[in-house]
């Protein structure tokens, strides 16, 4: 059983290494170690470009979302409690960011994971797998 597991593992790893080698030979952006200075500069430029493309993800991960609610009293005296992040309202988003609580980093990931998995089993896996797939897809291209 253990031997079979080791065999499968070694097959998977050897395939992964082969794939990485083939990517190197295709001069993909993973190729950073290059004797050609022009090639390495191009690789760095590509990495900067990819960071720019995935910047919304990075920004959300590190800065997060404001989660407080704000209360608005209407003319008839009714108090409405609204979410702070009203989609599309940049000013409100910035104001809430400066003054209130926010959810970011691992907390945000865990919160999303819980909510997605309550919609349907494994939806969290598909969601985060999908995002990883997009990033890998850009890296390979």
């Amino acid at each position: 059983m253990c031997k079979a597991f080791i065999n499968i593992k070694s097959i998977i790893f050897s395939k992964l290494i082969q794939k990485l080698k083939s990517l190197r030979s295709e001069k993909s952006i993973i190729t950073l170690k290059s004797n050609n200075p022009k090639g390495s500069r191009r690789g760095i430029n590509k990495i900067i470009l990819i960071i720019l493309i995935v910047s919304p993800l990075l920004f959300v991960f590190f800065t997060g979302y404001p989660i407080q609610t704000y209360r608005e009293t209407q003319k008839n005296g009714v108090i409405l409690s609204k979410r702070c992040f009203k989609v599309g309202e940049l000013k409100q988003f910035i104001r809430c960011f400066q003054s209130g609580k926010r959810i970011s980093g691992i907390h945000l990931v865990t919160d999303l994971q819980t909510k997605l998995s309550s919609l349907f089993p494994f939806f969290d896996v598909v969601f985060f797998g999908g995002i990883a797939g997009i990033v890998i897809g850009i890296l390979i291209l």
């Binding site: 493309i53 797998g129 999908g130």
Partner: protein, 452 residues
Amino acid sequence: MNKHIFLIILCCYAVFFVATPPFQLNDEPDHFQYVFWLTKGVFPQVPKTGGMPIFDKNISATYNVLEVASNDNNIPNFSKIKSAREQNMYFNTLFRSTPLTYQAHHPPLYHFIASFPFRIANYLFHSLIPIYYVVRLTSTFFFFLTVFIVWHIAYQLIKNKKIADYLSVVFAINPVTLKMGIAINPDIAAVTLALSILLTFLAVRNKPITKWFLVLITTLLTLGAYIKFQNTVFFLFAFFILLFRGIQEKKVCPYLIRGIVVCFSGFILFLPWMIHSYITSGSITPSSLVYTFFCTQNNPRYTWYAVPIQALLEFRHPISHFAGFLGWGEPYPFKLFFIPYTVIFCLFLIVGIRKTVSLKNKDWIIYLFPHMALIILFFLGVSFTYKINRYSCDIQGRYLLTALFPFILLIFQGASSLIKTKKETMAYIMFLFSIWQFLFILCYVLIPRYYV
């Protein structure tokens, strides 16, 4: 198509599919109900007046747990959804009279196709939420079929596989395409059929037209019309192209007859639906009746010379929607993003049209332009109706989804002529921007709307 490109499309689709909670997209509860009644062997009807209760009490109770789209300040109650799923919540309704749904104004083909996955899922699960997700797979099928067709159209017109790959991604991961690609709604199927008609004509542009081709095109036209009424405009497109082929081959009369035969056959095949609509709702275009129920007459009355200008200006809405409006309800990106997006989109589009005309690119002018123009003209007519009747409704991005790929091709032409660079590089830039746009809309529209 390059497998890595396909992987990116697949991942973007999967992320939107799982991240959009049930019944949040345009008119989904109504469309789902339409499918539900068809599986029961009952054909629903359009209500005679607006504001009527269109859901059975039991169905309403179910939707109250799941539906949040019309209430912009709420996020879904995930624990309620979880318990509904675990308790196998389901419609338990016994109808006494003909069921009503506003979406019954749509021809039934999409809903009929969707009724098959519904039946299978119903047999396997008998629980509303799994059934809902399985029925969504109907749109998944049409989404990927559209991507396949779009790639082939790009390849037919540009003859470069890499550019076709990049531009297909730009179309496929646009938030409006993704939104309609996952929604239980006939819009994506309507796009599939409309673009397949264009591709079929492009594929035989240098080949003789056979009897079997005419049968195929009549079938596609009829199926398209049975999915959404707006696709009837492509009967005119087929007639125009056949006439053009006749002029090109100096056989005007035979081709004119072929055009008439195709249109007449399609009309005869579509006639049962029009008769049904006339009998049940008193109109052969029941969609126009439904507009009168939904669109309130609270717009200002325009003078006669302002109506055409207002009708044209209405098209700012669908174009800005392509920036990432995920409506129903309110999800839209920051103005700082969608206003410049709309301006740049229009600028490149106009330059692209000018460039294509000046280059005298025959295939683009003969095939792509009329296809795009006919759907725009159809909605220009709708827009005129709105402005004349003071309706507050707007032309949405999803209505013009059929024209989005022609728009992207023309924007590509416009951008390549304005920014002096290799065409392949331009397509790559558009591809990278579309990925950034996807992630931006995911992070700043979709997730905040439903999760935080």
